[in-house]
């Protein structure tokens, strides 16, 4: 167990592709940190630099108290779970689990003890004599986890380990990874582009965009106080409603007297769908902002529905969460309201939170 410290880490690939542009990040001992961001933002690159699979152009990576820049992957005391599992296809599951321990010349009885323990923990004891090719996707995923577990490393690194599983299994494995990590208290760095996975797993969420950290914090912090327009739209589904204000405000949007003077042109207001309601469910309060909407579509999720509506004069589309099954027809005109206490304000030019 160890903390991981990244200091101004940069990566420039041949051909002058700057994939990671100076990332500093501190991961507490035993923490579960999730790196999330859109495709190509440098998540894998960053993780692979920590693992030692990619050279570090500049900056330092420290695991425990050691700077590991110059160390081989094997010397960094980390274990990694790959997206395609990377199980050795010609070895039995048992051999797969043992491989890293045998290479380290561990005593046979200790190897057996660890393999049995991991197999029990992951419920793969019955599969130990099979080859990876004879396993289902979920079972392979467990074996890949097992191979990391038996090492008892200072840190686990995960690169989108669940993205090859179907939706149901993904949710199940997600919970299992969380449970295991809580139990073992091994520092973990987890990469995903799935914001839901990120929100549910993380102690600390790191949102990456274009090779830079946009925001780092607890999932709730990031959700409730997104530091930028990018984070505001990336985290949360459906995304936060964005209302860019012009000189005359925004057509179809009425702000309460106090807020109207505070929020001016050059600002973008943000409000989450769950903070919106239809006015027929309750008259607007003095602190409410009011939307004039034409319904463009309805998405029924089950316990709740999202009504999508557009503001007049080609204004932006906003989503309103309503409980239960909504029967609203597209084209209907609606009035929606939202408490300005839940409003987020961003600078249009810089995208930063105000």
């Amino acid at each position: 167990m160890a903390k991981i410290e990244l200091n101004e880490v940069r990566k420039v690939y041949p051909g002058n592709v700057e994939a990671v542009k100076g990332v500093s990040l501190s991961i507490e001992d035993g923490a579960f940190v999730v790196l999330v961001g859109p495709s190509g933002c440098g998540k894998s690159t960053l993780l692979r630099m920590v693992a030692g699979l990619e050279s570090i152009t500049s900056g330092t990576v420290a695991i425990g108290e050691r700077v590991v820049n110059a160390l081989e992957p094997a010397e960094r005391d980390i274990a990694m779970v790959f997206q395609n599992y990377a199980l050795y296809p010609h070895m039995s599951v048992r051999r797969n689990l043992e491989y890293g321990l045998r290479n380290r010349k561990m005593a046979a009885d200790e190897i057996a003890r660890r393999v049995d323990e991991a197999a029990k923990m992951l419920e793969i004891a019955a599969l130990l004599d099979r080859r990876p090719g004879q396993l289902s996707g979920g079972q392979r995923q467990r074996v890949a986890m097992g191979r990391a577990l038996v090492r008892e490393p200072a840190a686990f690194l995960f690169d989108e380990p669940l993205s090859n599983l179907d939706a149901k299994l993904r949710v199940q494995m997600r919970a299992e990874i969380r449970r295991l990590q809580r139990r073992l208290k091994t520092t973990s760095l987890y990469v995903t582009h799935d914001q839901l996975e990120a929100m549910t797993l993380a102690d600390k969420l790191v949102v990456l965009n274009g090779g830079r950290i946009e925001q780092a914090g607890s999932p709730m912090e990031v959700y409730e106080r997104p530091a930028s327009l990018f984070v505001a739209t990336f985290i949360g589904s459906p995304a936060m409603n964005l209302l860019p204000l012009g000189a005359g405000g925004l057509a179809g949007l009425t702000l309460p007297a106090g807020a109207a003077s505070a929020a001016g042109a050059g600002e973008t207001l943000g409000i989450r769908p769950e903070h919106m309601r239809l006015v027929e469910d309750g008259a607007p309060q003095p602190q409410d902002m009011v939307f004039d909407l034409t319904v463009s579509g309805v998405e029924v999720v089950g316990a709740e529905s999202f009504i999508y509506g557009t503001l007049p004069e080609g204004g932006p589309e906003v989503a309103v969460r309503v409980p239960g099954y909504s029967h609203v027809e597209p084209g209907t005109r609606l009035v929606a309201a939202a408490d300005t206490a839940n409003l987020h304000r961003f600078d249009q030019k810089t995208g930063h939170r105000l």
Partner: protein, 293 residues
């Protein structure tokens, strides 16, 4: 699979005819001729021949020269196959590590395959000919008694090297493809698992390319058995003292030089049996490989 329906019932036979004719003329006819010849014995003047049954086979298999040639063939084929495979694998793994000019490097390595066997043999002969070869000169300068014209072992080394050289390109291509089909994450996982690069090669890479290696082993053995006549003829002519006379070379020598048609035909039939056996092994294997992936 949908069945094709031809408008005319003779058309399909007509379309097949050229293929069938070629097979008949170029394989079944010579093969049956060889079988027929192998049961005949010609008089010394080639005027009459009489049926002798399996006597030719008995003579061939009882001939110490023939058994010597079998040994020569085994040594030659195994050495050639192993050398060609080992060098090609070495070059292919090296090619994986090349960062710049990968394509150029690979292209260069493929060229030898385009060289005709006899020409390949001549190239090596020129380089190592004791009278005029550059390398022969260097070897002698280094104090090594190099004379493949007199020393059977040296002659064997020379034909093996020449034969292997030509096959390296082919093997190289297959090995490069096999190496590329190994997911990079597997190698990375092994690196994290604490395996040195040598260990990774022997415990991960080598087992994973084993199907290709086995396939190439069969192909190379068949090549060394049957396709190296040109090289041997150009480099040593089977000599010195039959030290490099492989089975194929002996068929030619006994049949066309010594004019023992019956014996030569019997040898051909035995060779044919060996090809069929090797091909059967290969096919079974290739089939298994298809199911493997």
């Amino acid at each position: 699979m949908p069945k094709a329906v031809f408008p005319n019932r003779f058309l399909p036979y007509l379309l097949l005819a050229p293929q069938v004719a070629i097979t008949l003329v170029f394989f079944y006819w010579p093969a049956s001729q060889a079988l027929y010849q192998s049961t005949l014995k010609e008089d010394p003047f080639g005027l009459k021949s009489k049926f002798v049954g399996l006597a030719n086979f008995a003579a061939v298999l009882g001939d110490p020269d023939y058994l010597h040639s079998v040994r020569v063939t085994v040594v030659f084929s195994v050495s050639t196959a192993v050398l060609a495979l080992a060098l090609a694998l070495f070059l292919a793994t090296a090619a994986e590590k090349v960062v710049r000019g990968k394509a150029f490097y690979r292209t260069l390595l493929i060229w030898p395959y385009a060289v005709a066997p006899a020409v390949a043999g001549l190239l090596w002969l020129f380089m190592f000919n004791p009278a005029m070869g550059t390398f022969a000169y260097l070897l002698r300068d280094a104090g090594y008694r190099w004379n493949p014209l007199l020393d059977g072992d040296q002659a064997m080394v020379l034909v093996v090297v020449a034969a292997a050289w030509k096959q390296i390109s082919y093997n190289f291509l297959f090995f490069v493809a096999a190496l590329q089909s190994i997911p990079r994450s597997l190698i990375e996982a092994a690196a994290i698992d604490g395996a040195s690069s040598t260990k990774r090669f022997w415990t991960i890479v080598f087992p994973l390319i084993a199907p290709t290696t086995f396939f190439l082993l069969v192909v190379n053995t068949v090549y060394a058995f049957f396709d190296t006549f040109g090289i041997i003829d150009a480099v040593t002519g089977g000599g010195p003292a039959q030290a490099t006379q492989t089975l194929v070379y002996k068929v030619y020598n006994d049949g066309f030089v010594n004019l023992d048609l019956g014996g030569s035909a019997a040898q051909s039939v035995i060779l044919m049996a060996i090809v069929i056996a090797l091909t059967a092994v290969q096919f079974r294997y290739v089939e298994r490989r298809v199911h493997y992936g």
